[in-house]
Amino acid sequence: MTTWTNLTAMAKIEVVVDGDDVPAVRDLFLDAGATGYTAVSGVSGFGHHGHHQGKLLFNDRASLSMLITVVPIERSDALIAGIRRFLDDRHGVLFVSETHVSRPDYFA
């Protein structure tokens, strides 16, 4: 079994939403204390609402985006509560997992 003795456990939160909802999710991350995030635009795939087209040439808003952030586990509940509430009435999925980081001060 792999041991990550010198790494710090944190919560990784990934959200896939419509391009139009990216700014709102970004603000929810930051308001809940996340120190940063990564955004991947033009996410394609197939899911609950059928096929989703990937990147379009001249429209960054029409396709799905994935936003990823990492926060201390004790801070994750609040952030997750906000995202779940936001997704109450719109398309999108939320993934939460444990991750390990080498520079915990970047995320605290």
């Binding site: 419509d18 139009d20 909802d21 700014p23 709102a24 603000d27 929810l28 308001d31 809940a32 204390g33 609402h49 059928g50 096929h51 989703h52 087209q53 379009l56 040439l57 001249f58 429209n59 960054d60 808003r61 029409a62 801070r75 509940d77 609040a78 952030l79 509560a81 906000g82 995202i83 509430r85 936001f86 109450d88 009435d89 719109r90 398309h91």
Partner: protein, 870 residues
């Protein structure tokens, strides 16, 4: 008053999420410096059009359709026929086909006859106006005044303190000393305001808790707070969701705006209705009585009245509006499609196009409806081939003009530009830049003095000798007046004219820029990719010796909404810079070599030329003429002469639709008293995607966006998908803005331009105070009481295989919402030999027939604007 208790971290996060959900109902509002047409109901666009407009009527107290009287006027003059009404009734109310025949006064009537009579003659039931108390309105004014103060750092002697803390905290610090507010909320109001929390989330939590709003009603309550001032809420939505990350100036957040309005609701007993309510029940009595009397003539029996009630009682006010709108649209659709099938208005272009050989020049214009007339006139003058393409020419970049440190996006707002292109002088520019610096200093000094408290008096004394004659000249000779240093036509223009501008070029090669540290340019791969996209999306082939990329802009003065007349595809800026960049890419030898590897060979003797069409003056200016090869100059000169002639002819057409002296139509942009320099995109109704052969020689009266597309050259459908997910979407925003600005100029438009006052450097208010006025001024869509725009949902006309179109609609959810929510209509055919099909909202295609419109009559009927048909 409820005591403040601090919400937990999770509670805070959930409340912030509720603000985001409420904010999603608000359409963004772009600052006037880069005015972008938006659908004012864009926040409701995930709902069908009918549902969204029903909500808008309740929430905004707005009109979302023409009044019944206006539709009836259209019907009376033949712009909507009984046949079209019946067609719309059957689609909206399919039950009429099976409804029992009514026997009234021994005469038999079909249900559809009763419904039609009610539509044409029945009593009018107009929606109720907005609700709200006088105190609530006064508190709204307090909010709008503080919003203007918060965002304004250009027109006030000193800025609001603590702005960096956010709107709520900055307001909270000053509000206890706000005398106007104190006057509204009573003597002890200041103490109550002083006791409010410092944090906007805590404020919202306190206010909502104090009003007993539970979690399930919170979004509706916050939405109510925001929609009390929809203009500023729209600007806040823009700040939150659309503003460039590096934008200078403060950010008005939705959270702060909601918190300030909630604070006022908390301290004042204004009785805002915060919970979701059902629509008021509709009364059908008057309409049933009127229809019964009309059909029965006299003394109707109870049975007869019940029979009428069984029909009229099933036709709501929403149904009536929807049927009229649909019938109006069917009329336009029938006229347009018949027009495209009709014999052409001229023969010259058709002859030229069918004759073999290379055209003398190809010109690519923006898809903007204003290009259509100009293209038609130009094509009639020579062996020219024209195309339509989004006016940023497929190069989404930020443009940094010579001498400027600011780069602005020159692309549709749907695209986030990832590259920056700088303009660089190719000869000595020191004198010019010095003149620009002096001019900017003069401008800043002029406005600083104008905006000060005592300095305007000194300014009048010291600068009046210059400003007075300049003002007189501008008033009496608008076409010849020199732009003054204080005018809004550009801070540097007046002084720059005294020093000739150096020749410049866009820096497109990132490698070449490596030493110049301009952070400008694209890699060769990127340039080649953009070039390929331009050529394939347009369907350009058989290149002419001269290929012109012609952007467009509008040069007007004393016009806060000036950028609304510029190019929407360039983010509300003139398109000349985009044309120059695209031309530099397409003339790049390395790019052309790369295109050959991709199967596109541009002949060596083909030169691309950049130009810009001033749509107010109808003048086309060719850029960078000095950089053209000597061998092409004669051809460019000949083309310029034809462009001048086409401009004259097009301006004559426009003069027929504009009030005032037709001979001065091209000077209107320079007249600072002119509230209507041009009609802009008024009249827009359709977006045609197909080869020019299907529209050439047809006078489409400037009512159609024209995007070139040749399905045979796009076998995998990539180009069509690009067109339908970007230019078509932008056109729908434009169409929706014109639609709603026309049906309710006060709520969705910017009201009367004569009363506008610029505020905060971001927008205008009507009169001295009030909310930001969003949308288009009344003068952009109305001529007095007469409409200049037909409020119709955009009609997309596509020539491409239906299965290709269907696939694109199905895999792009935003586009699918537009089509299936009936925000746009789509008709299509695979080729000119095929009949048109209509994409139904429920999916699938049905044959479109113009059978209801007698073909010869429809073909002969010109496609006119409302001004011409009335």
């Amino acid at each position: 008053m409820t005591t403040s208790t601090q919400p937990t971290r999770s509670d805070r996060s959930v409340l912030v999420a509720d603000v985001a959900r409420a904010a999603a109902f608000v359409a963004p509002y772009w600052p006037l410096t880069s005015f972008v047409a938006v659908n004012p109901l864009g926040g409701l666009q995930d709902r069908p059009f009918d549902d969204a407009t029903a909500l808008a009527r309740r929430w905004f107290g707005a009109r979302t359709h023409l009044s019944l009287d206006s539709y009836r006027a259209e019907h009376a003059r033949g712009a909507i026929s009984d046949t079209e009404l019946d067609r719309s009734i059957r689609r909206r109310l399919p039950w009429v086909a099976d409804a029992p025949v009514l026997e009234i006064g021994k005469v038999r009537f079909d249900a559809i006859d009763v419904v039609r009579w009610d539509l044409v003659h029945g009593p009018v039931d107009e929606p109720a106006g907005p609700t709200g108390s006088t105190l609530a309105d006064a508190l709204d004014d307090v909010v709008t005044a503080w919003c203007a103060t918060y965002v304004d750092d250009a027109h006030v002697p000193w800025a609001m303190p603590d702005r960096s803390l956010g709107f709520y905290r900055a307001w909270r610090a000053l509000a206890p000393r706000d005398r106007r507010l104190a006057g509204l909320i009573g003597r002890d109001g200041r103490e109550r305001v002083a006791s409010l929390p410092d944090d906007p989330v805590e404020m919202l939590d306190l206010a909502l808790g104090g009003r007993g709003i539970g979690e399930s009603d919170r979004v509706a309550a916050i939405r109510t707070y925001l929609l009390r001032t929809p203009g500023w809420a729209g600007f806040a939505r823009w700040c939150d969701d659309w503003a460039p990350a590096d934008r200078e100036g403060v950010r008005l957040r939705m959270l702060d705006l909601a918190a300030v309005r909630a604070a006022l609701d908390h301290v004042a007993p204004e009785q805002l209705e915060l919970q979701e309510t059902d629509a008021s029940p509709e009364s059908f009595t008057a309409r049933i009585d009127a229809a019964t009397s009309a059909f029965a003539l006299a003394a109707p029996s109870d049975a007869e009245r019940e029979a009428v009630a069984a029909v009229i009682g099933r036709v709501s006010a929403d149904d009536r509006a929807a049927i009229w709108l649909a019938a109006h649209e069917v009329n336009f659709r029938a006229r347009l499609l018949a027009r495209l099938e009709a014999p052409r208005d001229g023969s010259k272009v058709a002859e030229d196009r069918t004759s073999p050989g290379r055209p003398d020049a190809q010109l690519i214009f923006c898809i903007d409806v204003r290009s259509e007339g100009f293209r038609r006139h130009l094509e009639a003058l020579g062996n020219y081939e024209t195309f339509g393409f989004a006016g940023f020419f497929g190069v989404p970049v930020r443009w940094r003009p010579l001498g400027s440190s600011i780069a602005e996006a020159r692309c549709p707002v749907l695209v986030s530009p990832r590259h920056e292109i700088a303009e660089l002088a190719v000869e000595d520019d020191h004198a010019y830049l010095a003149a620009c610096s002096t001019s900017a200093g003069l401008h800043d000094a002029f406005y600083a003095a104008k905006g000060g408290i005592g300095s305007p008096f000194a300014l009048a004394e010291s600068a009046g000798w210059f400003a007075g004659p300049a003002a007189a000249a501008r008033t009496l000779l608008p076409g010849r007046a020199v732009t003054s240093p204080g005018s809004d036509a550009g801070p540097t223009r007046w002084w720059k004219r005294r020093s000739s501008a150096p020749r410049t070029a866009p820096v497109i090669d990132a490698d070449a820029d490596a030493g110049a540290a301009l952070h400008s340019g694209l890699t060769l791969d990127e340039r080649t990719l953009f070039a390929e996209a331009i050529v394939t999306t347009i369907g350009l082939a058989d290149f002419a010796p001269i290929v012109v990329l012609c952007g467009h802009g509008s040069d007007t003065t004393n016009n806060p909404h000036a950028s609304s007349l510029d190019c929407g595809a360039c983010g509300g800026a003139p398109g000349g810079a985009s044309a120059r960049i695209a031309v530099a890419i397409l003339n790049d030898a390395d790019v052309r070599a790369g295109l050959i590897e991709r199967g596109i060979e541009i002949p060596d003797d083909t030169v691309f030329v950049a130009a810009e069409h001033d749509t107010t003056a109808d003048v086309v200016t060719v850029f960078d003429r000095d950089a053209l090869p000597a061998g092409s100059l004669a051809g460019v000169d000949a083309l310029q002469r034809d462009l001048d002639t086409a401009g004259e002819r097009n301006s004559r057409d426009r003069a027929a639709r504009l009030p005032g002296n037709p001979a001065r139509v091209r000077d209107r942009g320079h007249d600072w008293a002119q509230v209507r320099p041009e009609w802009g995109l008024a009249g827009n109704g359709a977006f045609i995607i197909g080869p020019r052969t299907i529209t050439a020689d047809h006078d489409l009266a400037g009512r159609c966006f024209l995007h070139s597309y040749v399905a045979e050259r796009d076998p995998d459908g990539v180009a069509l998908e690009t067109i339908m997910t970007a230019p078509l979407v932008v056109a729908q925003w434009i169409s929706a803005q014109y639609y709603f600005s026309t049906v309710d100029p006060e709520v969705f438009g910017a009201g009367d331009k004569m009363l506008h006052n610029p505020v905060g450097g971001v927008g205008v208010v009507v009169g001295q105070s009030g909310d930001l006025a969003v949308g288009l001024p009344m003068q952009s869509v109305m001529l007095g009481e007469q409409r200049a725009h037909d409020p119709l949902r955009l009609l997309a006309v596509v020539q491409a295989p239906l299965e290709r179109i269907e696939g694109i609609i199905l895999r792009n959810s935003g586009l699918r919402q537009l089509v299936e929510g009936e925000w746009i209509h789509v008709v299509a055919r695979e080729s000119e030999q095929d009949a048109w099909s209509f994409r139904t909202p429920s999916g699938g295609w049905e044959a479109w027939s113009n059978a209801d419109v007698p073909a010869p009559a429809a073909a002969a009927a010109p496609l006119l604007t409302p001004l011409e048909t009335s």
